[in-house]
Symmetry: C2
């Protein structure tokens, strides 16, 4: 432990704010292993005295002094401490009461994080409660989403319409604006949807990235029209999740100085004390990731330390900052504080009473003291004023920088530039065939010229996914105005960062990329895209066994089915150039629905019957020699297998039968069509149907019907050249014909 | 950067082995940012001279001296350096030639890692090439699985039957034992299946955990019958993936001292220099995670440094060790070394020739010099001798510790104890209803008494997943003989660790647990379970909107369908106690197929018609008042909806129709049944069928047929109490009856 030998210049601790060096932090880790645990549990006694004078909570090394560094404690707009205390307790009890009424929820985090929540929403953050979508607002993400009553209470005090007292009373009820975890699509004022741990901090990285990018593109030395911070509260659980490390590594790499994360270091997770599974040094890890770190030893009552830490974080402009705020989960509850029992259950009437007594809160449930509501009411004035001030700034900017202002306003309007879709390339059957991953690159680069919001990249596979925008450079610390994102091999964070970029609400249209198989790695984030109405574009290449030699670890089988089963996500598998353009057309238009494009590694021919417009129907006849909507046979296929379906159709036709080939490029879009349209493509009377797709047959019965046949792959793939694989797995025109003959 | 101010006692660098402190490592990070990049590319010149005298490669700080610490360079069994060099080049060229012949693959890693590979397999590791499954062998995991030709070349030299020269010539071909990524089920000698990055190091944590656990259970002061190391080579990509941080955090927490990871620090990934996305200090991060770290500055030619580092790693028994081995990707290729172009493509004939000339290798492809094969042939003798020695030790152990030996031999035989299944609890309709998650706990605890291999735990949800084995304590650093694993909130690593425990091949039957929704977080590892034939048991509770208030972020919808579409995995959704027992019976028996148990949070009644045996059929009539296999209506359901199906059946029966209710507890098992059995359950003549399941209807057409109806949820869930959700989503007996009437 060489670092322990360091002679760090001794600096007197100031205001409870410590800067934990790697070495010192390790000493703390040693101290808390075992010995300190018992000590920490003793906090319950401290809490009992909270009414008279809350004792500062510090967890210090028993092996050596904690090294600290003096920080400049600048005076923020400070409120009378007694009033702050009252406000903080209001937040605590709104959370306690709402959870109690619902008899469901997580009171522990709000009780512990109320002080930092108060300081953020009352003293630090710039927002307008009358317009939750004001562009230049500071963003806040509760990565530990289960503690959402903290955020609802804060939104209530700040004056957001979505969180009236009545809304708080409807916590976790059907149709309420206060669901069990924060959901941006239900609650204006909530930026992103959190709950699945670790994703929120990655969303925050995306929000901070969007700010850094737009600031670099549009700000002028004399006009900062893009200028906000991104704050995030994350917990022990978030810090255990791998995605948070991925996202933090990227944030450090990108030097996102306006990202400020407050780590609720309460040492408790659902299974009990984090000592049982989480003994790493979080501070040292974040320092290794390139973050500035600060430690607030007493996050329960040392408001000045929290204020000073945030101020210091703001002063560090080239690195994101992680403020470790040591708190007591369930602070104030005499018998449940600092234990897992307060994490995820209502306190129970008896303990609520005891907590009221302990914290001197002799109000009825859901009470907000008048001096507290009076104090917070200022935000109803300052919020609109902040927005008006910014509008003035934007107007001045517009006068000096008309062109930039026009692009900026167009962008943040969220509307697509008129005629953008004309840039989409079209193809004829005479064009030389190509892999749809290459065609995707052509489309992306065409769109980059007409869509100022297009930004994205790959998880270290840009040259395989074909996702580089050639007219732009890399978004990097020194070049944040560029638009190629380099995510490294961090798929999960990539997806959640892209969600953050989407939900920044500034007209950015992010795409991201990896091999289709590795959607497994970012699936949790893709699901949140779908749920939270984030219209991200997932460019997923190497979409089947067609990738060949890399073998079964890299060959998707069940992936198409797995996304077709997921709500609110469009799963595209284009067969050629026109379908690739068509898929992008829908993907760009649907700003509230994410799209997945499964693209081939191998070359495919351009089809005579394809078109951009047809893709919007989801499934359409790409080839048909029947009349009267009565083909003898319908062959259904997607992507690279449409070519095989067409060959099979030729064989069957040569034997005197009529055949319709349907390209099922997007099932979800087909489902949206009218019954008439569906009947025109798949007439009920025609039951001789064969599907072919290089993936699981699961689900194809929906379109082949009970009497049909499905050609696909219901086992894992194998390592071999593509031609052999297609043959061995029966993905051939001959096999389709054979299956057809069984039912013709 | 307080740590930079540390005054670390200056120690002279010895043998190229540096112990990077957090501070010093950061200095290196600074140096390599930008400036050192150009410098590093200059290595190509160095490589051109490799033939005469390979220059040591070091990447040193330009801002300050790298702090190093003297390590004791103990002499391992050392081979003449010229011969080592020849062996190393043999490995390089076997990889080069195999990739060239396949015209597909990844030559860069094997060329850079050949030195550490040689030292591991020739000098360090204890194994028996004649019995790849010898229990006490050292385990090796190539987490950077794309470099598999390294492992195949090593297995070839070591004398494994699976990797003859002919096998190497069949690299990446159909049916070969040398697929495109390492696959344990294809290649004896390969321990786990890798390729999807980051999972291999987590598998290695599982292997090391299994060793630590069994050693604690069975070793005696005078008899170490369980005693091996786990080695792992991981690359930049693995270290970027979040899962590797999760796994490393756990390994540090558990103090797995016999886990030794060699980090191939080559600074190149697919998109180019890692400077574009990966500038964190990996060493400092691992130190923060509780690992011992060592830096080998020149992994290309400094064999002694590699040897000394491994020796030092072995001497640290209370922590896992991460040896950062700085290498040059594609070492020896004059024009492609140290660039992404050598990562994932064949060198091409011209560059192969240039590399041959550069490294003085004037042999035809796939040549193994006689002195190299002679040297390695010793393993064909030492290997069996090592195993024989261990067998003797085991025999001696058996004499002294008969009872323990019997359990140990039973365990590692992989066979289940006779009559174990008698411990499975059974239930009658008179038993009080319960949640299947609780019934699962009852079953797990019953099985813990009869299955000595049962070990597992939850990702911080033990008290919700109900997975604690009450008769055991926690597996922790100080108590490794215990069997409750505490994974923390690290689902992805949990899955991969469990795969490692499975594939340790010692009869351990691991289970792991989280909410069913969070299978998304560990899905990549679950897929590897299925592919690599690891019979892990996934205990997944809170299996539907039935969990209630937590809302859509926590409510599975598409998850059942997504696993039903995945090959070689059993997706169970038991309806009551007998079905829960029955699911465990199959899950335990199927040691080569993983099982997922989706379990309810809410209470369910025990059904009169359920049984353990029926579960093995996958789907069966749980209630039927028809005769002659001709019910008027068939209602299909799973899990918690079987109760609703039964109520609906009663209503329809009350109107004079006959109804069969089929519990579809596991589709995959139903698919395995004979056509006759299937017809007996779902007679083709009966087309009036309605399915009900609290999840996506996707796929149910397979069993309802085109004429049937599906009741399910094809949107996201919502936050509200369970009763309201079931009603609002139409999961009611009344709705089933209404649908039935449409088709009756």
């Amino acid at each position: 432990m060489a670092a322990l030998r360091c002679n760090v210049a001794a600096v007197a601790p100031v205001a409870g704010v410590a800067r934990a060096t790697a070495g010192a932090e390790r000493a703390v880790g040693v101290a808390t292993s075992g010995a300190a645990l018992g000590k920490f549990l003793g906090l319950k006694k401290v809490n009992r005295n909270a009414r008279s004078l809350p004792a500062p909570v510090t967890r210090v090394s028993q092996k050596g002094a904690v090294s600290t560094r003096a920080v400049a404690v600048e005076t923020l707009e400070k409120t009378d401490t007694a009033l702050v205390e009252k406000s903080v307790n209001t937040i605590r009890f709104l959370a306690i009461d709402a959870v109690e009424k619902a008899n469901s929820g997580h009171p522990g985090l709000p009780m512990g994080c109320a002080p930092m929540g108060h300081i953020l929403y009352d003293e630090v953050m710039r927002y307008n409660p009358k317009n939750p979508y004001w562009f230049n607002r500071d963003r806040f993400v509760l990565s530990a989403g289960h503690g959402c009553m903290l955020q609802y209470a804060l939104l209530h005090l700040a004056g957001y319409d979505a969180c009236t007292i009545e809304d708080l009373k409807q916590f976790r009820q059907w149709g309420s604006k206060t669901p069990g975890h924060p959901e941006n699509f239900e609650t204006p004022g909530v930026e992103v949807t959190t709950g699945p741990l670790g994703q929120g901090i990655a969303n925050a990285v995306g929000l901070a990235l969007a700010e850094a990018h737009l600031a670099a593109r549009f700000n002028k030395p004399d006009a900062k029209i893009v200028d906000h911070y991104t704050y995030c509260i994350l917990g022990d659980g978030c810090n255990m999740e791998g995605i948070s490390n991925e996202a933090a590594s990227l944030a450090g790499h990108w030097g996102l100085g306006k990202l400020i994360a407050l780590y609720d270091d309460n040492h408790i997770s659902i299974d009990g004390d984090t000592e049982i599974a989480f003994t790493e040094s979080v501070d040292a890890r974040f320092e290794a990731l390139g973050w500035h770190t600060i430690w607030v030893k007493n996050g329960n009552t040392d408001y000045d330390a929290i204020r000073a830490a945030i101020e210091e974080a703001k002063s560090v402009t080239d690195k994101p900052t992680m403020i470790k705020v040591t708190t007591t989960i369930g602070f104030g509850s005499p018998n449940k504080a600092n234990s897992y029992s307060v994490h995820g259950s209502a306190l129970g009437a008896k303990e609520v009473d005891a907590t009221r007594q302990n914290l001197g809160w002799d109000h009825e449930p859901f009470h907000v003291p008048k001096e507290v509501s009076d104090h917070w009411s200022k935000h109803l004035e300052t919020g609109p004023a902040l927005e008006a001030e910014w509008e003035d700034k934007l107007a001045a900017y517009e006068k000096k920088y008309a062109e930039e202002a026009a692009e900026f306003k167009q962008l943040i309007s969220g509307e697509l530039p008129a005629g953008w879709e004309k840039a989409l390339p079209t193809f004829t059957a005479e064009n030389p065939g190509d892999a749809t991953r290459n065609l995707s690159q052509t489309v992306l680069n065409a769109l980059a010229r007409v869509l100022p919001g297009l930004i994205g990249g790959s998880a270290d596979l840009a040259s395989s996914n074909m996702t580089l925008l050639k007219m732009f450079g890399d978004f990097q610390k020194a070049t944040p105005a560029e638009r190629n994102l380099r995510f490294g091999v961090r798929e999960h964070a990539m997806g959640a960062i892209v969600n953050g970029i989407c939900l920044h609400g500034s007209g950015l249209i992010p795409y991201c990329a990896t091999f289709f198989i590795f959607t497994d790695y970012l699936r949790p984030a893709m699901r949140i895209s779908a749920l939270s109405e984030a219209g991200a574009i997932y460019v997923m290449t190497h979409d089947s066994i067609g990738l060949g030699e890399d073998g079964p670890t890299h060959q998707p089988i069940e992936h198409l089915a797995s996304f077709r089963a997921m709500p609110n996500i469009l799963m595209f598998r284009p067969a050629d150039g026109n379908e690739t353009s068509g898929a992008y057309k829908v993907a760009v238009e649907r700003r509230k629905t994410p799209s997945v494009l499964a693209l081939s590694r191998q070359k495919l021919p351009h089809l005579a019957g394809s078109s951009i417009e047809s893709v919007a129907k989801g499934g359409y006849a790409v080839s048909d020699d029947s009349t009267g909507n009565k083909p003898d046979l319908i062959i259904l296929a997607s992507g690279s297998e449409v070519e095989i379906a067409l060959k099979a159709a030729d064989i069957v036709r040569s034997e005197g039968k009529t055949v319709r080939v349907v390209s099922f490029v997007c099932w979800e879009l087909f489902e949206e069509q009218s019954a008439e349209y569906k009947e025109s493509v798949l007439p009920a009377a025609v039951t001789a149907r064969v599907s072919i797709e290089a993936g699981s047959t699961f689900g194809w019965e929906r379109y082949t019907g009970s009497g049909g046949r499905q050609v696909g792959i219901d086992r894992f793939g194998a390592s071999a050249p593509i031609g052999i694989l297609y043959k061995e797995f029966g993905l051939t025109a001959e096999n389709v014909v054979a299956k057809a003959k069984e039912i013709l």
